[in-house]
Symmetry: none
Subunit: 193 residues, 4 copies
């Protein structure tokens, strides 16, 4: 009897393996065979499920962004009031599922992918927009007209902290990362009227 739901399991395994493989290699120049082997299947099967290498990459990217989104939402759920929610978004951006060695490296590589692949670019843009809209929503009551510029700065800063974390070897330092964005936030909020 064919296992029910083999497909979603296989796809998930491939997505996970892709992030790990790309993360470890620090590059998109990994082979489908490597990914498939890590996922415990043949490369032919990987093609069967995803059609092409770039579809595999896209699926992995979606996964990374989905996890990121979920973590931010999770942090938000526990917070009430604009400032608490704002801090939750910012800190949630460095939660365990996203701010880990492989995911960071994979994320960087998907930024590169977005240079070429319109679909990858679209994904990234959507997430940036969503983050910005989230930030703005909480910032407006806090800093009023400066909300727009603070949101821009926060978005860029988060990405900057991520990209710099990609250069460190070993586990990324979450506290250090969070401190940088929190200080930025503190500075902005202490000035509010």
């Amino acid at each position: 009897m064919p296992k029910l739901g083999a497909e979603p399991i296989r796809r998930a395994a491939l997505v996970k393996a892709t992030i790990e493989t790309v993360g470890e290699a620090g590059s998109l120049e990994v082979t489908v065979a490597q990914i498939a082997r890590r996922a415990g299947m043949s490369s032919a099967l990987a093609h069967h499920y995803f059609g092409s290498k770039s579809q595999i990459f896209l699926a992995a990217m979606r996964s990374i962004l989905t996890i990121y989104g979920a973590e931010v939402r999770g942090a938000l759920a526990a917070a009430s009031g604009p400032e608490a929610r704002l801090r939750a978004i910012v800190l949630g951006s460095f939660a365990a599922g996203s701010f880990r060695r492989e995911a960071i490296s994979a994320w960087l590589n998907f930024y590169v992918l977005a240079q070429k692949s319109p679909e990858a670019r679209r994904l990234l843009t959507v997430y940036q927009r969503r983050l910005k809209s989230n930030l703005l929503h909480e910032l407006r009551p806090l800093v009023g007209p400066r909300a727009e510029e603070v949101a821009r700065g926060l978005g860029a800063l988060i990405d900057g902290v991520y990209i710099r974390a990609s250069l460190v070897d070993g586990a990324p330092d979450r506290d250090y990362a969070r401190r940088i964005v929190q200080e930025y936030l503190d500075r902005e909020l202490e000035n509010r009227t």
Copy 2:
């Protein structure tokens, strides 16, 4: 027709072509033949002068960082006093030679290269350190004990602005980029005692 002193000319042409090719492709997955063709020579000659593809990449990366360093130094030369010098560094980081489409894309790709190539990583680290030391030097008289944390934030923010610029198509918006970091700076400086 062999000319005397062809080597430096050829090498420079290859470096330039590499940045353009990688910038256009938005990826390191370009062939030596593509680069060589753009530089007006055979791929064999490119190998003759650089030995290997990775040496070509490294030379291009050095070139990017050298240009960046020169532009920051150039901006610094015209400024006097800590605050002016600080703003010069930060604005110089987005000068014309560095903050242009191809260079940004190539820079992003060299970040990726640094994940794998120790030499590339070394180059990047040296430049980050140099920038930070420059920032600290001017920040200390201005913000005293907070210099360290502001320098960290500025460094990350500059990188963040760069990586986000890599996603925009068309010419990058220098003013927009500068505004983001300037606002950060303004905020930090207005609070100084």
Copy 3:
């Protein structure tokens, strides 16, 4: 149409094709593509099964030495008594599978390979040692203390006859070859006390 158990078949075909190709070319400077074409497959498949050109060569060399060993053993099986066995070894060295145009030329080339490849050298040394030990075993009862020196002479003479056969075009003259070593043997044996 993939068949089960294709691997051993393909490998054997490649080994055969290698010996033929090297034999015909009279040189190791043959391409994997040539070998693969003769074996009826793509060069990619050849690499898939052997990993590298040198592994292909090594496998071919092993094959040649295995055939040689089998032929000598075959000849030995039918002989009884030291002298008969000794003559069997010597004559078996020129049996049909080994002493043929292509195999001789390939053998010569593998001698060259052994200058550079430690594994190739090991293979050759093992076979020389085995031959010598076989010879000594039969020679001791026949010529006593001179066994060692006769064995050395016979070994060198067999190789000498082979290398000279490599220069003749057309089919090698087995009888001529055998006569040379037999005369050597006759001379040594007639002198025994």
Copy 4:
């Protein structure tokens, strides 16, 4: 003033360098550039003097055979009487100029070259014939009708000792080599009527 005789000096340097390079590499797969560098000149000049790589090889081969011939002739000059002359030929075959690491390895490789290059084959054949004729001349008065077969055996044995010497690393053992052929000779001569 252009040096008189630059050409013969350059050619000789290239021939010497070729033998050394091939000997060291243990293979004909050496580049013209390697040879030229060792000879202290550009590869372009090597081509200027020899026209092509194969001409360089042929010249080196001629040199090896010439040295061999000279050494045998030298040994012959000091000997009188058939047996002495016969032993001189055989021992002369292992004189210092020929029976040395590089020359042996180069000689083996030239045997390979002779499989493909008619001119190389011609050179080798000429030398084999000359050796045989020399041997026969002295053997006839010593072993009469068996001269032919002894000459054949001696020729093959000398080549066999050479090829086996090619497998040993370090300096070849001249005494060991000579002993093998001398024992053969002793055996043949003691039986003469």
